[in-house]
């Protein structure tokens, strides 16, 4: 069902993309942004992106997952149109707002489809990611096992405090309010895996498993992470997080990239365009690549 829905979205992408490439001016006029310099170029780029979505959605085995690519695209468009609306008046503004409304509607559909694809029949939200780190397994395992290290690469965590060998207290920045919960390690095999879950009734329902295996040819360590979220409040929280371009899968992948940087280079790598290091939100809203300033 969800996959059928996804294929329909794929055909929509194909039609939209073709229109934007063939008649970018008409599209920018319709959206009220034809006065912006480079608007047709953007329209063509967006058109190209739509064709990519179409290829993914129409070509994939389980296309619903790929609806996330559309959600990411929608988020980008919402940002662009939001900015455009703020800068315009009169009938142009009305056209921009109408386009904004339409995209918001489409976004809702895409999110529904993608979540259907990710959650597969309303189960808990599961995400998985993996990365290879050029350090011995023992060392990688030990760093992760000291849970207080986690916030150094998981940017959404404020802090983790160990209560004893098994239990720990986690604090996170939520999209609306800050979250706090207690977690316990439910399984651990030194150098191989760590599994944890939130203690029932402590605010958030989440569980995680991280596995460590030797890399191919004995080089480095493959780190595999699976996370599961099941809190009643997570629907809203996750939806909002996604609206801001932080799809959970992307979040975990960025966390792992930072983990790799910390293990291999000592810290999270920063650029002037992305001063916090990898972050989906920042990737959509880059600072210019020029020095940051502020220090006298």
């Amino acid at each position: 069902m969800t996959d059928k829905f996804a294929r329909a979205l794929g055909w929509t992408s194909l039609a939209l993309g073709a229109a934007q490439l063939a008649a970018p001016r008409a599209v920018t006029r319709l959206c009220g942004v034809d006065d912006a310099p480079g608007a047709t170029t953007v329209a063509r780029l967006v058109g190209g992106r739509e064709l990519l979505h179409a290829a993914l959605l129409l070509g994939a085995k389980n296309p619903a997952r790929w609806a996330w690519t559309r959600v990411a695209g929608d988020t980008m468009d919402l940002g662009v149109l939001g900015k455009a609306a703020a800068n315009r008046t009169g009938s142009r503004r009305i056209r921009v707002l109408a386009a904004l409304g339409a995209v918001a509607g489409i976004t809702a559909l895409d999110v529904a489809c993608a979540r259907g694809g990710t959650a597969k029949a309303k189960g808990p939200l599961q995400v998985r990611a993996s990365i290879t780190i050029n350090k011995p397994r023992e060392e990688v395992y030990r760093f992760w096992r000291d849970l207080e290290n986690l916030p150094s690469f998981m940017v959404h965590l404020d802090s983790v405090r160990a209560i004893d060998q098994r239990r720990s207290r986690w604090k996170a920045k939520g999209p609306i309010a800050d979250l706090e919960w207690e977690a316990e390690i439910i399984d651990e095999r030194a150098g191989d895996l760590i599994a944890w879950r939130s203690v029932p009734g402590t605010g958030v329902s989440t569980a995680g498993l991280v596995g460590f295996t030797d890399g191919p040819g004995g080089r480095g360590t493959v780190v595999d992470v699976s996370l599961e979220y099941g809190a009643p409040g997570r629907k809203l929280a996750a939806a909002v997080a996604r609206m801001f371009g932080e799809h959970p899968e992307q979040q975990v992948r960025d966390d792992l990239r930072r983990f790799k940087q910390v293990m291999e280079t000592g810290e999270v790598v920063r650029s002037e365009g992305s001063p916090e290091g990898h972050r989906a939100l920042r990737q959509l809203h880059q600072r210019p690549a020029q020095p940051i300033g502020g220090r006298a």
């Binding site: 490439l21 310099p37 480079g38 170029t41 063509r44 780029l45 190209g48 990411a72 290879t132 050029n134 080089r219 480095g220 992307q250 992948r253 960025d254 990239r257 790799k260 940087q261 291999e264 280079t265 000592g266 810290e267 790598v269 920063r270 650029s271 002037e272 365009g273 992305s274 001063p275 290091g277 990898h278 989906a280 990737q283 880059q286 600072r287 210019p288 690549a289 020029q290 020095p291 940051i292 300033g293 502020g294 220090r295």
Partner: protein
């Protein structure tokens, strides 16, 4: 400080921007003494590399003096004179250990963007779009250099800037282009593009033992320059390149072909040029791939096509059939500069080559936009511009 800032397609401005500061413990701040304009910068200025943003500081070929180091830098000290490779590399990941510095797995904080466009992410590069990291470039008075004890190479004062500056990019790039050809004695190498990169590729092909080098371009002043390396030349506006190469190689074709032109190639047939130009303008393809197509067609059976000209996205009408049926090998990459700096510095010291032969213009940094004009439009016999802050 003053810096050359991208303000839109074909719009550069010298602006006052904040001085850089240390962001990571392994950073250094370098006071730039010399910097250059590269053919790769032209792709940015012309708007063909995605994710460049208004306000970005350009420039990836630079050298200077270390004026500040972060707490994690061990092998570099204030006062050291350094040349800085254009790809940023951590020195510790799998790619770096393999010598594949331009695809370092840790130096691109925007790997997420690059991954969406390219499948996996390459390394960060100074002043070269947000997809490649969002790092400010070196056409400025000061630059922050990440992983300062990995990339930068220390150079004694006895060698002037102009002899070592191009270790930052185009000398290693030309050298890698030739190295990828696996040159054996007696071989003939054809090179498209007599720009500075093509000139270094020609010089390097001879250093690596090529018997003959044939360089193709249309600007007589550039062809004359490259002749000084000992290369033969072809003007593609005067001859049919494929026929000429066939005739010059006993009907077999060059043993290896180097594309030192990249995505903004020009085509002598107006109709063909108009076709790809229009598609590129409409962003239906991102490249004008004539040189790549021609190099593939020209190469002898079983030969190597070495691509150092930069491509950004998708190529149309790619002659895969000839690559496959004629057993060609394509090798390519942004240059793994860190691999070459030390050995090439030695070659400069031994007097095997003086890289300053490519320089045609010297001007202050404040004239950078003018320098870009000259270099882009090949005016005033412009070959390579060096800027001094």
């Amino acid at each position: 400080m003053k810096a050359n800032v991208w303000m839109g397609r074909n719009h550069l401005e010298i602006q006052d921007v904040p001085d850089p500061q240390i962001l990571n413990a392994r950073d250094a701040i370098v006071r730039v003494t010399s910097t250059a304009i590269c053919g790769s910068d032209l792709h940015l200025v012309d708007g063909y590399i995605p994710t460049v943003k208004k306000g970005d500081v350009l420039g990836h070929e630079f050298m200077g003096e270390v004026v500040e180091v972060g707490s994690g830098v061990r092998d570099l000290h204030v006062g050291d004179r350094v040349v800085v490779p254009f790809p940023i590399a951590c020195g510790a990941c799998f790619a770096c250990e393999e010598g594949l510095y331009s695809v370092c797995e840790n130096s691109n904080p925007n790997a997420g963007i690059a991954e969406k466009l390219m499948g996996h992410a390459p390394a960060g590069i100074f002043g070269y779009s947000h997809m490649l990291g969002g790092f400010p470039g070196g056409q400025a008075e000061y630059v922050r250099v990440p992983f300062a004890d990995v990339g930068p190479i220390k150079v004694e004062d006895d060698l002037p800037d102009e002899k070592v500056l191009f270790l930052s990019d185009i000398f290693p790039t030309g050298f890698m282009g030739a190295e990828m050809c696996d040159i054996k004695p007696g071989q003939t190498i054809a090179i498209w593009g007599a720009g500075p990169v093509g000139q270094f590729a020609a010089a390097s092909a001879f250093l690596l033992g090529a018997d003959r080098v044939i360089v193709i371009d249309r600007f007589p002043y550039r062809l004359r320059r490259v002749q000084r390396t000992g290369a033969e030349v072809l003007n593609y506006e005067e001859v049919n390149v494929l026929d000429a190469l066939r005739d010059m190689t006993g009907g077999r074709g060059p043993d290896a072909c180097i594309d030192a032109v990249g995505m903004e190639a020009h085509h002598p047939t107006p109709a063909m040029y108009a076709y790809d130009r229009a598609k590129q303008a409409a962003r239906l393809e991102t490249e004008r791939p004539y040189v790549l197509r021609e190099a593939i067609m020209a190469c002898r059976n079983g030969g190597v096509v070495s691509v150092i000209g930069v491509y950004g996205g998708f190529v149309d009408k790619f002659p895969m059939g000839t690559v496959m049926n004629r057993s060609l090998t394509i090798r390519t990459g942004q240059c793994h500069v860190q691999r070459y700096t030390e050995p090439l510095l030695q070659r400069i010291r031994r007097g095997e080559i003086d890289p300053s032969f490519v320089i045609s213009h010297r001007m202050p940094l404040s004239k950078a936009p003018h320098g870009f004009e000259l270099f882009k439009n090949k005016q005033d016999e412009c070959n390579k511009v060096v800027l001094t802050p």
